[in-house]
Amino acid sequence: MAIKTYREALTEALMIEMDRDERVIIMGEDVAGGAGGSAGVRDNQNGIFGTYPQFHARYGENRFIDTPISEAAIVGAAAGAALAGLRPVVEIMFADFIGYCLDQIMNQAAKFRYMFGGKSRTPMVLRTAYGAGLSAAAQHSQAIYPMITHIPGIKVAVPSKPADVKGLMLTAMRDDDPVVFFDHKALFGVQGEVPEGDTPIPFGKGMRYREGKDATVVAIGRMVHFSEAVVDKLAKEAGITCDVIDPRTTSPLDEDIILASVQKTGRLIVVDESPPRCSVAGDISAMVAMKGFDFLDAPIQMVTSAHSPVPFAPNLERAYLPSGAKIEEAIRKSVDY
């Protein structure tokens, strides 16, 4: 397997499907960029995060569409285009901007299939960059996937590894239900092994990235990387070994892989970049407290961001986020219980 970045893996999935199925289109603000600009140059930045190398040249104006700053109309258009037979991938540049298009996600795309008695499909993917760590401050750093996970009818992917980005994006683009796909903006440059070819990964199947016996660490998105580092350190330094499980999609959620691990270890730590209330950390903890209660030998530990907006100053942002130290403390607390 080749080593690729998270960004490259994403691009690969998008290209496989754009090449394979002409119903797939991509829309978003400055996805090509340069429209109407004095230089007449498109594909000049390949998308804000560099995820679309020469897509305009390759797929043309009709399939790779620069939009105005109109999040509601863009997502509404994707839903409408999906009803009319396309399979749109729509980019909302920062996940925070979902505040402008929640209706189109929650009340339109998510509900059509059910509300229309199963007679419609809404195959669309909303991809968006989330997360803190770049001092992008309160309105450009949020990890709002819990709010979207709450919504029945929407599937939610929050990949941590390059291979997962590729595999889950392929699945997302082929799904007949709407998917919201959260890329962590601090992960685009992260490298990992990515299988060649057409390698979709099913939704609702988690992955165990470390194996151990003392505790189960469930982590989401970028927190998988944070957790792996801590778990490796604890194994080396303290002989404490943990499962590290990444659900990969928060909806549908792979309950089985989590419950099986907790059954083995008796201890659960959930690491989630969102603030604590009504979070995915809480969601998974509650599921285990209901369905895996008998397995538990210790209180569940949740490690989340602070219940505050994301602060700007780098030290405050570090204090806001889950850290290696906080994760280690939670694991030790659980294991020492």
């Binding site: 105005p68 509404g76 009319a84 396309l86 509300m115 008695g117 199963g118 029945p152």
Partner: protein, 324 residues
């Protein structure tokens, strides 16, 4: 353009079916068998039908909370609609949608929509699909005067102009959004829907929404233009709704006699009948015949709906990808 006898009869039948459907619901709702909120379309029939008689099944429309007329005009099965409104398993959405969510994708009816302003972005998106497909299909957003103060509607108009899409924005100005008149809500009368749409850079015009022929002709041109790459347009069609905002609305905001006046002078069915019989295009008895058939159809629709079973309780988790 001169319409054929068949076309005229079809248009009349469609309008009459809507009127009869709604008038009958108005009678049935107080009986308590129809769940939820219902918004009736009586008085606006010429708009839905005038627009949709220019469309084919492969063209798409989006609709509103006041969607029955749009559904019928676009060819949805009337009995399936009635059963849906009664919440029955035989309904077009299996009882899951109800009055505000009737849809039939096979007829290009992309759904009534309980969210004001929900439709126009969807129609604009369908128009992207149509543009890409290149077969000359068009999308029409039917929306209210009140919806035209909602951000997503403006955004959709801009994006339609920007991408030169085959989409038509039809604003039905029925005098009110709930209890509020456009003279207040649309820039306090310092502008109107047409000037606004023009501000977005597309042709827009205002017409009598109670005259089938003026709606039909205006839209015909715009549909033709859209089919051939000429881009979007917008219309304001004026009318008055004959009933309240929802069934049960006490309507104290309307002056006494307003509805009577509207029924007298702004009734598209009366106007149509007068016009076609005066011009000897159809005879009164042709229309009476349609009236009778429609009455019968609605009668059956109600009877069959009431006789139909509710969906099984287990349907609650059907058609959502997973259940927890």
């Amino acid at each position: 353009m001169q319409l054929s006898r068949e076309q005229l009869l079809k248009a009349y039948r469609q309008m009459k079916t809507i009127r009869e459907f709604e008038d009958r619901l108005h009678e049935e709702i107080p009986k308590g068998l129809i769940p939820g909120f219902t918004h009736l379309y009586s008085g606006q029939e010429a708009i839905a039908v005038g627009v949709c008689e220019n469309l084919n099944d492969s063209d798409a429309i989006t609709s509103t909370h006041r969607g029955h007329g749009h559904c019928i005009a676009k060819g949805c099965d009337v009995k399936g609609m009635m059963a849906e409104i009664y919440g029955r398993a035989t309904g077009l959405c299996g009882g899951k949608g109800g009055s505000m969510h009737i849809a039939d994708l096979s007829k290009g009816m992309l759904g009534a929509n309980g969210i004001v302003g929900g439709g126009p972005p969807l129609a604009m998106g369908a128009a992207i699909a149509f543009r890409n497909r290149g077969k000359g299909e068009v999308a029409v957003a039917l929306a209210g005067d009140g919806s035209c103060n909602s951000g997503p509607v403006f955004e959709a108009m801009n994006m339609a102009v920007m991408l030169n899409l085959p989409v038509i924005f039809v604003f039905e100005n029925n005098g009110y959004s709930e209890q509020t008149a456009p003279a207040y809500a649309v820039g306090a009368g310092k502008t109107d829907l047409v000037r606004r749409a023009e501000g977005f850079g597309m042709p827009a015009s205002k017409h009598d929404g109670t005259d089938f022929f003026s709606v039909y002709e205006a839209t015909r041109e715009a549909v033709e233009r859209a089919r051939t790459g000429g881009g979007p347009s917008a219309f304001e069609f004026n009318c008055l709704r004959f009933f309240g905002h929802f069934e049960g609305d006490p309507q104290k905001y309307r002056i006494k006699g307003e509805v009577e006046m509207a029924r007298d002078t702004m009734d598209c069915l009366k106007n149509f009948r007068h016009r076609v019989t005066e011009a000897k295009l159809l005879e009164g008895k042709d229309l009476d015949q349609v009236d009778a058939e429609v009455k019968q159809l609605i009668e059956e629709a109600v009877a069959e709906a009431i006789a139909a079973p509710f969906p099984p309780d287990t349907d609650v988790t059907k058609n959502v990808y997973i259940n927890y």
